[in-house]
Amino acid sequence: MSRQPYVRPFSKTTWYMRNGRYKVYMLREMTCLLVGFYAFLTIFALAALAAGADQWNNFLASQQNTAMIAFHAFALLYFLFYQTFAWFKLAPKAMPLQLGEKILPGSIIVIGHYVAWAVLSAVIFWLAGVI
């Protein structure tokens, strides 16, 4: 009797379509495209700022049309769902906390992240003069 193990094909280009779990993972990874976009946007903003008041005001105006506002709103929601919420949920895996003999429930770490997020957001809003 001879051994002839059969190796099933594994598509390097479409594997993530195989189940919902992989699709959600890819949606999370695709936030890198938005990160890239905002990195370029920041460079453009800095270049406009360095070029003088007119250029800066033009840049600000270019961000205030309906299409750009809709895009920024989409990007914010996309980040919230597939980056912020997703990583906050996974945070207890990377840093479990132990008190004496007990490993603390992950929810404490997750809540800690949300509290830190709220405090930092409030500081940014305060610095920006919103509150």
Partner: protein, 242 residues
């Protein structure tokens, strides 16, 4: 219930194919009971692994409707009337539902899953360990090597050199053990390209794990450990062996 089972006979078949069996199931049966029924009453040529039927031996891992599952733990009452059974994904098929596990066996060995000491063991008595020290790693001792995690891991599917979830979780189990002093010895293997850094945290391994070992957590913790050790060594601090 209709069972669609993947068949592969290396002496006859060029590639796997599906065979359907009608199985009169009881409400309290697990998928493994249905497969055993086929073997005992319908088709004695069907090959598959199983032993304990109580989530201990880790032999009966298979794909159940595309999900890596321990078939003794997967109950028929929670499934539709038609169920597709395949051998675990990401492994070569030896025959029918039996897969080749040689690669993972080598990887389990490679991570040195045993207590490594630099000094001599205590003479005439056992190592002592507090309950708190045990709690740090106990969850990672629950692995039964069913290999459902490897089957769920797309990184292992893409790159078979990746050490993978169960072996890395096992390494972490020993790294966290207060009796062990082998962390820096394992670091070269774990921090290698095919070690923890090949994991992109899909998290599927932990979701399918029938024993709630959470290998994804172990790997993320090892990434932090590995980075800390790297900087400690760069800055001339002694290694982190306990």
């Amino acid at each position: 219930m209709e069972l669609e089972v993947m068949r592969y006979d290396p002496e006859k078949d060029k590639e796997p194919w599906f065979q359907s069996y009608s199985v009169p199931c009881e409400d309290d049966w697990a998928i493994l009971d249905a497969i055993n029924y086929v073997k005992d009453n319908i088709d004695t040529t069907l090959s598959y692994r199983w032993s304990c039927h109580m989530m201990v031996c880790g032999s009966c891992g298979m794909m159940v409707n595309g999900e890596p599952s321990l078939t003794c733990k997967t109950f028929i009452r929670n499934l539709p009337d038609k169920v597709r059974i395949e051998p675990l994904e990401n492994f070569p098929i030896e025959r029918d539902l039996v897969v080749v596990l040689d690669d993972v066996m080598q990887k389990l060995h490679k991570v040195q899953p045993y207590i490594i000491r630099k000094d001599d063991p205590p003479e005439g008595k056992e190592y002592q360990q507090s309950r708190g020290a045990l709690a740090k790693f106990k969850q990672y001792t629950m692995c039964i090597n069913c290999m459902c995690c490897y089957s769920a891991c797309p990184q292992y599917g893409l790159n078979n050199d990746f050490i993978g979830p169960a072996a890395l979780a096992l390494a972490h189990r020993y790294n966290l053990d207060s009796r062990d002093q082998g962390k820096s010895q394992r670091l070269n293997i774990l921090a290698d390209h095919d070690g923890v850094w090949d994991c992109s945290f899909v998290g599927a391994c932990s979701e399918v794990c029938p024993k709630h070992v959470d290998p994804a957590a172990a790997i993320q913790q090892m990434k932090i450990d590995g980075a800390m050790e790297f900087w400690k060594q760069k800055m001339g601090f002694p290694g982190g062996d306990s």
